[in-house]
């Protein structure tokens, strides 16, 4: 038996190829160095940054220098529009991010409600339509709504990012049934975003056939963020390997007996 472990399959967003299936957010960390070592241990290739914490004026404000702390040769920086309440605000932020030198990629987050941070489907679709025409690679954050996922895909979204549970809630995949439909129907990658609180949740998403997951809170507020990042990396990998190896479908009940049709075999 060979001890060599094969890499999992690579995947693509638009034309860009990635090996890691773990995206990591950069908010909520206790320090810049904690964030940097967590990114390193996670093996991620894509990190999200909230634009409201970045200096968009081009002055390299030392009090808002999140971007300076991220190795942009190593990671694709995905700007997120959190704080935007509608399409107009999100579109404006996305354009400013490009003007400030960020890649033309945007994680579209439009949550008008500051409590549960649930995404506004109507404004998200509008913003996707506008930004797609401008050539953005768009990764919209959505509630787990299969029809919305298809509509966004048609509007030019590069992926869909349904939530497992509200941001920061650590509750795992509460929207499982809906996400299963989204995965079944999607022609673009499905990234489960938000609410995943443990590596087992990440593994579950990948086992279900999601292409990737995005984790922030669970890593950032862990006692040891770097160690937690490693754990998530392993969870993601385990889930993906299981998916590729072909999990047998789970059944709700045991199926050993056939009380209604058993007579046919007699």
């Amino acid at each position: 038996m060979s001890s060599k472990v094969q890499e999992t399959e690579s995947w693509k967003i638009g034309d860009r190829k990635f090996q890691s299936r773990l995206l990591v957010g950069t908010g909520k960390f206790p320090s810049v160095s904690a964030m940097q070592s967590a990114l390193e241990s996670s093996g991620t290739e894509i990190v999200t940054v909230a634009l409201r914490r970045v200096d968009l004026s081009g002055h390299k404000d030392p009090q808002a220098d999140m971007l300076e702390e991220i190795d942009r040769d190593k990671y694709l920086v995905l700007a997120n529009t959190s704080g935007a309440m509608n399409a107009e605000e999100a579109v404006r932020l996305a354009r400013l991010a490009v003007a400030a030198g960020l890649p033309k990629w945007v994680k579209l987050e439009i949550h008008p409600d500051p409590r549960y941070l649930l995404p506004d489907p109507i404004e998200t679709l509008k913003a996707t339509e506008i930004l797609a025409k401008e050539g953005f690679t768009i990764l919209p954050y959505i509630n787990a709504d299969p029809v919305l996922a298809k509509r966004l895909e048609e509007a030019g979204a590069a992926t869909v990012m349904p939530l497992g549970a509200p941001i920061g809630s650590n509750r795992g995949i509460e929207t499982r049934a809906q996400i299963e439909i989204i995965i079944e129907q999607a022609c673009v990658p499905v990234i489960v975003d938000a609410g995943l609180g443990a590596p087992s949740h990440a593994a579950e998403a990948l086992e279900m056939g999601a292409d990737a997951v995005l984790i922030n809170t669970a890593i950032a507020v862990a006692e040891d963020p770097a160690a937690m990042a490693t754990a998530f990396r392993m969870g993601v990998e385990a889930g993906r390997r299981a998916f590729e190896a072909g999990l047998s479908p789970a059944r709700r009940e045991a199926s050993a007996t056939s009380p209604l049709t058993g007579f046919l075999d007699e």
């Binding site: 206790p30 634009l51 914490r53 808002a64 309440m85």
Partner: protein, 373 residues
Amino acid sequence: MSGWPGSALEGLPFGRTNTVAKFEDLMFGTTRLEELAEQARAETRKNFGKTMRLFAPLYLSNECVNTCKYCGFSKDNPIRRVTLRPEEVEKEARHLAQTGFRSVLLVSGEHPREVPAGYIAECVKRSVSLFPSVAIEVAPLETSEYREIVEAGAEGLVLYQESYDRAAYAEMHVSGPKRNFDERLGGPERGYAAGFRRIGLGVLVGLADWRRELVALAAHVSHLMKVCWRAQITVALPRLRPAAGGFQPRVAMSDRDFARALCAFRIAFPQAGIVLSTREPEKLRNGLMELGVTMMSAGSETEPGGYTGVGKERLHRTVRGREVALESSEWERAEATEQFEISDERSAEQLSAALRQRGLDPVWKDWDRALTA
């Protein structure tokens, strides 16, 4: 305590929601404080991470037409007064920005002639190029006036009711427009209608029975979360500090009760911001950093011109609405009189170091004006 706690909401236009009931249970139930603190810390981390947002107040004017028993700016107090000119406000703002702040709170006494809405809007305009986030704490205004200020670039509105107890409110606010309880109570909703994104509520602890005040505040927060569902709500529980006029707080709230109140707010309203100002002493602020607080001020001056000394040459007293020059002997220590004495005197840099020491990342910028521009 007959009728308690239902009576805390008597005469107020909001009801006792499930969240208010939860708050009461946390605040007045039997759960140990240590246990609440643990929960509060966990909720804060989940929702806000290991971070602390920093801001500074900038006083525009200490002129005031109200007589309020507890406030240093009260109309009849013989204090040194001045209203900064917009260019002086800009100078103060520049100083604060150089200190590192990216979030500022413009504060003023109430004086329709000296401090009209147009003046406040002008001061906001002078601040927005220096601060991604600008909030105001001024007298309640009409929706159209608020709109002018929002259009100038402000995104936050702070308007404390001071007291939700109508009797205590009437007793404390002796004369002036601030006597109008309902006008003030409706301010946050008018501000929301005008486009403010962050709304700060609070009670001034020490004016009336704080237990009832806390319940009323919780009910107000709960109410605003329904009617202003897009706004980020923040709460504060400033405890009265020594100020000109020498008012003694009616009801003291112990440090333990204060800490319990912050924890109870955090757990009942996990996503609300909680503000802790320099009114509280260093040791307490250090302890509370991890228990629910999400926004702190530092290095604060609570008088106009406090950071750079601008406006000095126009200091005066106001007697029956008329400006009276200072006595010549007074010019030696000539600076405007503060609203209250601050307690935690650490600079922004010192506070940041204390935050880092406790594993919290100081966040200066958490807003971009491009969002609302």
